[in-house]
């Protein structure tokens, strides 16, 4: 599987840079697919997520408390953007400090389930992001991915599970 990290120009701002991921030959990022999949059923929630990300990138930065932490393995920084009250639309992401967010996908988490593993869709999206996180950290360790100006990621941003 091949991933490419790309910057989402419309969502990035002076306080945080927002990225998403292309998987293999898909011409939509994980975040765009998330919006397409949920826009019809949850338009208000999608609006809320987009505006929250906009506020984060332009005004507040990616402060820890705006994110539901520990949604992945210990230390892999996979988290979820908090949902609006009475809504359970999960959007998974990786938060690198207050300046970089890597958006993945997500889906609806019904009130009837507790663990994400109980929903096949959430499990798939979450585990995909765990994989991206692992590959990104490996490349960071090898200095193939690095920080630029403390608020951007640079280097070889194409990740391959076969490498």
């Amino acid at each position: 599987m091949k991933f490419e990290i790309v910057e989402l120009s419309e969502l990035s701002g002076s306080k945080a840079t927002i990225y998403s991921i292309f998987v293999d030959d898909d011409n939509k990022t994980l975040f765009e697919n998330f919006m397409i999949e949920n826009l019809r059923e949850f338009p208000d929630e999608i609006n809320s997520k987009v505006e929250t990300l906009n506020q984060i990138s332009t005004k507040f930065g990616a402060r820890r408390y705006f994110f539901k932490e520990n949604e992945g393995k210990l230390g892999n920084l996979v988290c979820a953007l908090y949902d609006s009250p009475n809504s359970n639309l999960r959007l998974y992401c990786i938060r690198f400090g207050t300046t970089v967010i890597l958006l993945g996908g997500g889906g609806h988490k019904p009130k009837s389930i507790r663990a994400l593993q109980e929903s096949e869709k959430l499990k798939t999206e979450n585990y995909l992001l765990r994989e991206v996180s692992e590959l990104t950290f490996r490349k960071m360790k090898e200095k193939e991915i690095y920080w630029i100006n403390d608020y951007e990621l640079g280097g070889d941003l194409i990740l391959d599970t076969d490498e």
Binding site: I36, E51, T52, F60, Y82
Partner: protein, 120 residues
């Protein structure tokens, strides 16, 4: 330095444009409120657990308050103001009259009264 490829899509732009101003304003205010509360917690050196205890709430509720998505009741905001000794709600202050404004007002009123008196 090799930066990430920039990706622009019609979808994000069109959603951004369609968000009502009121929604944007509400989200901004909620996030700002969360930031204000967190700043006060940092300043006083309180952990979320300690703050939860002082407010008589569960720590998970404090996380929800700080998420920037919570719709607070006025009573809760009053209690937060009391516990953290901060001002969140804009309270109406008594109107402060500047001395010069007061003098000008009196002169104006006297002139008006004098004018009326002269007409009679």
């Amino acid at each position: 330095m090799n930066r990430a490829r920039k990706h622009t899509g019609v979808l994000i732009s069109s959603i951004k444009e369609s968000i009502p101003e009121k929604t944007k304003e509400n989200i901004s205010k909620r996030m700002s409120l969360a930031t204000q509360i967190d700043a006060a917690l940092q300043k006083r050196g309180f952990t979320n657990q300690e703050f939860a205890f002082m407010m008589g709430k569960k720590p998970s509720e404090i996380s929800r308050w700080l998420s920037g998505t919570h719709n607070f009741t006025t009573e809760t905001l009053w209690e937060i103001e009391r516990v953290l000794n901060i001002q969140i709600l804009t309270s109406s202050k008594p109107y402060e009259v500047h001395e010069n404004d007061l003098k000008a007002y009196i002169v104006c009123e006297v002139e008006k009264a004098f004018e009326n008196y002269s007409k009679k």
